[in-house]
Every structure is written in C-alpha cells, then in structure tokens.
C-alpha cells in the first residue's frame, strides 16, 4: 500500500514510508525536502473530515469482486432497492467505478445532474429514501471517457465521501470497479477511521471468475475488511420454454460453495440467470418490483434479508 506519486523516481519508497526523503532513490527528486520533513507521513486530513461526515451513516457496505461483469452493479442497485422498499430506511448508493459507471443507467437516472448546495453536492434521488451518487452524473455526454490515472480517481473518491450531502442514512452501499487497485485501496483508506460493516463479494460459478475472487478475499484480509458473505450470480439458467436448467458458466471447481468452505466465509445465496434482470437494468427499473414470479427475485430477497440481519447484529460499540 505504498503511496508512490506518478512520475516518481524508479525506486521511490513511497511518501508515507519511513524511508521517505532519505533513501538513495530520493536523491535529486524535487520532493525530497518535503518527504524528509515528515509532513507527508501525517494522515490525510480528509480521513478525519470523512469520519465526521460519516458519523450520520449507520451502516457501510462495500460490494466487491475481483472479476468484472459478474453483477456488482446489478447487485448493488437491487440491494439498494430492496433495503429502500421499507419507507423508513434511508439508503444511499455510491458508485466509485470511475471509468465504467453503470449505476446511473441501472437506476434509471441517465442524464441527471448533481447540484451544489451550501452543504455540498446533492445526490440524485430515485425515491425520497434512496439517494445515488456516481461520476456518471458529472459527465456531459454518455460517450465521455474518464481517462484518468490513479491519483485523479482517488481525488474523486475522496470528494464523493467527503463532499456529498448524504444527510442521515441507515445504509451506504459502495459499488466498486473490478480489481484490487487504486479505487479499492482509497475507499478503505478514506473510511479507515469509520466503521465499515463489511464487504459483499460477488462471483459467477466458473473457475475463471473464482480465481479472481479469491484474490479479492486476500485483499479483504490484507486490509482487515470483514467479509459479510459471497453471492453467486448467474448461477444456472432456466430455459423459459422447456423449463430445463442449464449451467452456462459451469461450476467446474465446485463454484462459490466450495470456495466459501475453503475460506470459511458465508455463502449468502445463489441468483440464477434471468433475461428479465438484464432487461430491467437496461430500462432502469427495479427487477424486484417488476418481476415478482422469478426465482431470482426470491433469491435476492433472501440475500438482502441476511445482509440486514448481519448489519443489525454487528453494530459498532461506541
């Protein structure tokens, strides 16, 4: 977790390392004096600001997966919808996928803009009790690519956590991009002085996906992030015509079930493939209220309930 700025000398020890400003690689670096002064080792003041901001947020859940396209955003969106179906629960959904924000589309908020107010950026509301923030709301056209390197993405995430006027909320759900890199480290670091309830890890059944997801679990262990559980998505497909089940992404190595046993973490449930899920997402509607008869809806509801139970039984002590 070194803090190496872009354009640093090749063996830069990182600005927050004990060797900052002192190692041989620091010779001739224009930042040597600043690093040597010890200023860069002090914690980012934003961490404290974010702690204050997050004092009105009861539960914080990260949705992670080492693999792309397994359904992180679909799950995050439906977790938010599911939790917000109780009108007295305030839910916020934050999309930190800076290069591929899907949440605006899935939540039916494409083309919405973020407004400034005295107390910060106002999120976009789907319902009175469901607020959403994404970089998608800050782009002028759907074709705009955010071609940013790490430090700029981190700055944006800092702003999302510190400067958005979330208000009093029960659940903050953070949807992340695939991988174990800048975005993930930044979210965990910026929230380090607050209590994160834990991470939900999404996977699909096949080994090619599981091998990336195992890396994500290693990541959670390294940064001491509790794993609430694993969701196996795209788990089998029931043909709408003959009702026979097929494994499109076959669990050749035992699927999420085996992996959860190996790592001793809970499997929250399996969500089958249903073409109507993708369709609801494209139309920006909640699958949970659009398609009541699908086995996927039942699976989602049971998973959401288990997450609620986890959060209420793991209240921070303070």
């Amino acid at each position: 977790m070194e803090d190496v700025p872009s354009g640093a000398p090749q063996h830069c020890p990182g600005t927050s390392s004990d060797q900052a400003g002192k190692s041989s690689a620091c010779q001739g670096c224009p930042n040597q004096a600043i690093c040597a002064s010890g200023m860069t080792k002090a914690p980012d003041p934003a961490v404290e600001e974010i702690r204050q901001k997050m004092s009105t947020v009861k539960h914080k859940i990260l949705v992670l997966s080492g693999k792309g396209g397994v359904g992180k955003s679909t799950f995050s969106a439906h977790l938010a919808h599911g939790l917000a179906s109780d009108g007295s629960t305030e839910v916020a959904l934050l999309d930190v996928d800076i290069c591929g924000p899907s949440i605006p589309k899935i939540m039916g908020l494409e083309g919405e803009q973020v407004h400034q107010s005295g107390s910060g950026w106002s999120p976009v509301y789907v319902e009175d009790n469901l607020a959403v923030m994404s970089i998608g709301f800050l782009l002028s056209s759907p074709d705009d690519a955010v071609i940013w390197r790490g430090p700029k993405k981190n700055g944006m995430i800092k702003q999302f956590l510190r400067d958005v006027d979330w208000g009093d909320i029960d659940y903050l759900i953070v949807d992340t991009p695939p991988g174990t890199s800048d975005e993930h480290l930044s979210v965990v670091q910026y929230l380090s002085s607050t209590h994160i309830d834990g991470a939900i890890i999404i996977t699909t059944p096949q080994e090619v996906s599981l091998q990336d997801v195992r890396k994500e679990i290693s990541f959670c262990r390294k940064v001491k992030l509790p794993v609430i559980g694993v969701v196996e998505n795209m788990s089998g497909f029931v043909c709408p015509k003959c009702k026979n089940k097929s494994q499109i992404f076959p669990p050749t190595t035992g699927g999420a079930e085996k992996m959860c046993q190996d790592f001793n973490i809970p499997l929250l449930g399996k969500v089958p493939l249903d073409p109507r899920i993708g369709k609801s997402c494209d139309e920006g509607k909640s699958f949970l209220t659009e398609v009541l008869d699908s086995p996927a809806t039942a699976a989602y509801k049971s998973i959401i309930q288990r997450i609620q139970e986890y959060c209420s039984s793991h209240q921070p002590q303070d």
Partner: protein
C-alpha cells in the same frame, strides 16, 4: 538490429483487445483469436496486462509455469512444443495463485513498461494484448509504451445489453483520444441456445454490439453466442477450436479472426 523497437522488432502486428466493461469476454476472445490465428498458420503471442485479474494462463492451461531469463530478456511461456503460441502474464510471477496484486497505478505502469520492452518474443505474426476493463493506468501504459512500435488497432468486446455498450462507447472515446484505430466491435454472449429444446434465449439482450458499431461508425466483426462448451473448454484450458470444430461458435470465432487479418492486411 533495430534497438529502437528492441524486443518487438520482429513482431509484425500488434492488436489490443479492449472493453470498458468487465466480464464481457476480453480474455476469452483473446485466447480464441490466438488459437484461431495459430490454426491459420500464424505465430502468435499474447501479452496479458490485466495485473489484478490475469485469466489467460488458466484459459491456456499453463497456470504454474515459471518465467526464465535469457540475454534478450524474459522468455515468454510457450503453450506447445512448436512454440507457435507464446504468453506473458503476471500470473507467472506470483508465488501463490490466490495472491492479490494490490498495486496502485505507478507500479502497474512500471510493470507494463517492462512487459512491453523486456519480453523476448522473437518472431511473431501477431501480438495480442489483453487488457483489464476500464480506461485508466494499464491502458495508458500500454499505449504509451507501444508508441515506438506501430499498433495496428484495437478490437472492442461488448455484450449486447445497454449497460455494457454504454461502457464500450467510452472505450471508443479512449481510442479516439489516443489515436488508436478501431479494427471493429465483437458482440459476445449473444443469445443462448437451450441444449434441451434448442430455443434461443437472448439472456443479455441482442444486437447491442451491431447497433453500437453503426452508431459510432465502426466495423462490426461478428457475434459470438453464449456456449457452455466454450466456457468449459476455457475452464479446463482445452483448445475449443480443436475440440468442437463443428459448432456454430467455432465458425463465429474463425470468421472474426479472418476479418481481423483482412482488416490489418488491407491497411498494409
């Protein structure tokens, strides 16, 4: 001996495989294209720059290989005795396959720079570069480190649904900004034929890739259906093209490979 191009001096064509969206089949398509090109008698290399989630070693069933050094640099891993398919991936550099590579941008950029300059590919007809999703450090690093060498273009992979094509539109903007030619768009996971009743269901919708190609004025290279035989071949690291030469998926992949070769040849 051209020092300017170094280890890429004998590499004829370089093609990037990109997608703004994850899990749409970039690594699958890269693997299958490489196998199809090899079947067409070409020498092929794959450079896997997905540092946080390298999938190609498993797909080619060369998971636990070690990378050796030679005078010219790192020796890539060959999948066969004829050395017609070479691969380099961070997967070969990890001690434990479950190790997470928790790196921020600058470290990723440095390793990609090394991958581009220090791998002794030797003589290759095609070098395919498989990338992680997004438009960030890895992509900029690849484009920048390949600047000295001519990159023929990029193949963009998408699934049919709007949530995916939306991200791929951003990838096209990336190509325009960095001056990469778009060789074409491939629509993957396009329809699933039920093995029980042969009914075709469009699980992730249909036609999104072709529509996107029209909208952005890019060539459309073809559709690859959802095929459990393809998924399990990749899981087991078998050569799908050899195992199922009669399947419709095989035809689709072969057609895409030839479209790519033609497109590159036409440009010279």
């Amino acid at each position: 001996f051209s020092t300017e191009k170094g280890n890429l001096a004998q590499v004829r064509h370089v093609v990037l495989v990109l997608s703004g969206k994850g899990g749409v089949g970039k690594s699958t398509l890269t693997t299958e294209l490489a196998l199809a090109l090899r079947q067409a008698g070409k020498k092929v290399g794959i450079l896997d720059v997905d540092l946080c989630g390298p999938s190609i070693p498993r797909m080619l069933s060369v998971g636990r290989q070690e990378v050796h050094q030679c005078d010219a640099g790192w020796v890539p891993v060959y999948t066969d005795a004829h050395k017609s398919l070479a691969l380099m991936s961070i997967g070969f550099l990890l001690e434990n396959p479950d190790d997470a590579v928790i790196w921020r941008g600058p470290k990723k950029t440095a390793l990609i720079g090394q991958f581009v300059s220090d791998v002794a590919w030797g003589e290759l007809d095609y070098l395919l570069v498989d990338t992680p999703p997004g438009t960030s450090d890895e992509h900029l690093a690849v484009v920048e480190s390949l600047r000295k060498h001519r990159v023929d273009g990029a193949i963009l992979v998408t699934t049919p649904q709007a949530v995916s094509t939306g991200d791929v539109r951003r990838e096209i903007a990336f190509c325009k900004k960095t001056g990469l030619r778009v060789l074409g768009i491939v629509e993957n996971m396009s329809g699933f034929v039920c093995p029980h009743c042969s009914e075709c269901t469009n699980i992730f919708s249909k036609g999104g890739g072709e529509e996107l190609a029209k909208l952005t004025d890019s060539p459309f290279l073809g559709c690859v259906p959802l095929d459990p035989q393809l998924s399990s071949s990749l899981e087991e690291g078998r050569d799908f093209l050899q195992a199922f030469p009669d399947s419709a998926t095989f035809g689709a992949i072969n057609q895409i490979a030839h479209a790519v070769m033609t497109s590159i040849a036409e440009r010279g």
